[in-house]
């Protein structure tokens, strides 16, 4: 066989393997979706058997029994202020690190990056007692404030390096025109930073939505649980009722899949920019 006819065959085989791998990767999600519309009797027929008709009532059951009306709103009540305040504070701190001079600059920067490396697991015990001392255990503040604080290092570094890439001449011209710094930040820097800010917001949304440890430790009242936590306690009660359990899991991950599919290009571009910086 000549080499030229061999290569397309090999390339085709390789692509087949790649697509098979992609299929295997998303199979858990497909199985989840399939099982969530089965009846309990359908489940006994086998994991891959199709149900006679879709049982959407599982979603209603999961939503009601799993207190998802509470958890879903809690997740939203937490994620909005965390993303908004983190981006705002990241802009201010990032602006300072990008353009301004102040003492202990290097030390402060090192202390900030420390917060990106030390996992929350390492300081959750003192944080728990601090929140208890402040009387914030079992409040939205316990879910919101630590997550804003934890996001500050990444927000600062991400936005500072994006700001450093802005054309210096534009800013200098604005200074020469006699514009104040708040004015320049609001009218020139922020509009130019919209793409970076929205990428950052996307990341903070996913991280906050997915956070497990903070709500697990700092909140034990059902009224303040967020979706991943709700899922854990839901699992405890519904291990046997697989269709309702899987419907619950679909409810938790559905907003994430939707967000990912809508923003996926921006997501991947931002991820690699953030990670390799």
């Amino acid at each position: 066989m000549s080499r030229s006819s061999n290569i397309p065959a090999a390339a085709l085989f390789l692509r087949l393997v790649l697509w098979l791998l992609a299929f295997v990767t998303i199979t858990p999600f497909l199985l989840l979706l399939l099982t969530s519309i089965k009846s309990k009797a359908d489940v006994l027929k086998g994991a891959f058997a199709l149900p006679a008709y879709p049982h959407f009532e599982n979603y209603v059951d999961a939503w009601n029994a799993g207190h998802f009306n509470i958890y879903f709103w809690n997740s939203i009540i937490v994620v909005i202020p965390v993303v908004a305040v983190s981006v705002f504070l990241g802009l201010l701190t990032g602006f300072a690190f990008a353009y301004l001079s102040f003492p202990l600059r290097r030390t402060l920067f090192a202390i900030l990056t420390l917060g990106m490396m030390v996992p929350a697991e390492a300081f959750i015990i003192p944080l728990y007692y601090e929140m208890r001392y402040l009387g914030l255990i079992n409040t939205y503040a316990a879910l919101i404030i630590p997550q804003i604080a934890m996001s500050i290092p990444f927000s600062t570094i991400f936005l500072a390096s994006a700001m450093q890439q802005l054309p210096e001449e534009v800013l200098e011209a604005a200074v020469l025109d006699g514009a104040g710094r708040f004015h320049i930040l609001r009218k020139i820097v922020i509009p130019l930073m919209i793409p970076a800010m929205s990428t950052l917001a996307l990341f903070l949304f996913i991280w906050t939505w997915n956070e497990f440890l903070i709500p697990f430790i700092l909140v034990n009242d059902d009224a303040y649980r967020t979706l991943p936590l709700g899922m854990l306690f839901f699992q405890g009660r519904y291990t046997v009722n697989t269709p309702v359990l899987t419907a619950g899991a679909v409810i938790v991950i559905f907003p994430l899949i939707l967000t990912y599919l809508v923003f996926q290009r921006r997501f991947i571009a931002g991820l690699t920019a953030g990670a390799t910086k």
């Binding site: 992609a22 630590p146 697989t242």
Partner: protein, 297 residues
């Protein structure tokens, strides 16, 4: 650094810095320092903490369960770091010269697990692995491999790889995406030159792609190593460290000592050892992978 046109007096500069830094100091840096202090005491969460110096650390290093946790963590690094790295770089090398659309579609699918909450993934996989009605064993039985249908999360020998595979599944698409951007950064004329010289695909990969991807390899190693040391959600939701400590890792042990047994000083000591381990491995990766990449590029 040259002074920016926007720079002002130091007092007014601090206005920008202060809100973020204060919040960070109060709820992250402060607690980190407090954890360091706490690790030097014996504390049940109620009475006054008793100073024990390095006693907690001495106890840990003569505690056989702590060594089991460290060894499990080291073994898990094969699944958290090595496998995703190797798979990711191989896939990136295969995918990058596919057409834009096909590349995007594959990337979208393979990256999907990474955006999910690991706690929920743990719950989903616990169901997949269920010995009686889990799809995994049903699949094995369906294809005639029924004798391999094991109670995966209850089997002392297979539970660690079973949990590890989930971490590999979670990370390999993420690694591939980082390597893909890395390959796109490489000057295409290098690949053209290799083609002109008649280099095989394998030679091109080992002599051009791999050495020039060292910065990305460093990033991927760094992120996956940190993730492996902080692994908690996935293991907690799948096995809680069991059976018989087979998936016990330092953070699960820390949770048990702190929040189940109220031995907060000892728990803080584990947290600090974990953080120190992260720094040490981080430093080693910077020295090993960092210096080599400088030599090449």
């Amino acid at each position: 650094m040259k002074r920016s046109a926007l720079d002002g007096t130091q007092q007014t500069n601090f206005i920008y810095l202060l809100p973020g830094l204060l919040l960070y100091a109060a709820f992250v840096f402060g607690p980190i320092v407090a954890a360091l202090g706490l690790s030097l005491t014996s504390w049940d969460g109620l009475s006054v903490p008793k100073w024990v110096g390095l006693g907690n650390y001495a106890d840990l290093f003569s505690d056989s369960r702590f060594y089991i946790a460290l060894r499990n963590n080291a073994e898990l690094m094969i699944f958290y770091c090595v496998l995703p790295l190797v798979l990711g770089i191989t896939l990136a090398a295969c995918v990058w010269n596919l057409k834009q659309r096909e590349q995007l579609a594959l990337r979208t699918f393979l990256f999907l697990p990474y955006i999910m909450p690991t706690a929920v993934l743990g719950i989903i996989w616990a169901w997949l692995y269920n010995p009686a009605f889990g799809p995994f064993n049903q699949f094995l039985r369906a294809v005639g491999l029924g004798r391999f249908a094991l109670p995966w999360l209850g089997d002392f020998n297979f539970v660690l790889p079973a949990v590890g595979i989930v971490a590999t599944w979670y990370f390999f698409g993420f690694c591939m995406v980082i390597f893909l951007t890395g390959i796109q950064r490489i000057d295409p004329s290098l690949f053209d030159a290799a083609k002109v010289d008649g280099a095989s695909a394998r030679k091109t990969f080992f002599w051009i792609t791999l050495p020039l991807l060292m910065p990305e390899i460093r990033v991927v190693l760094l992120l996956t190593v940190i993730a492996s040391i902080k692994s908690f959600d996935l293991i907690f939701t799948m096995t809680r460290g069991g059976p018989a400590n087979a998936t016990l890792v330092p953070n699960i042990y820390m949770y048990q000592l702190g929040f189940e047994l109220n031995r907060f000083g000892a728990a803080a000591a584990i947290a600090i050892v974990g953080a120190l381990l992260t720094f040490a491995i981080n430093y080693a990766i910077h020295r090993l992978v960092g210096s080599r990449s400088k030599g090449v590029a």
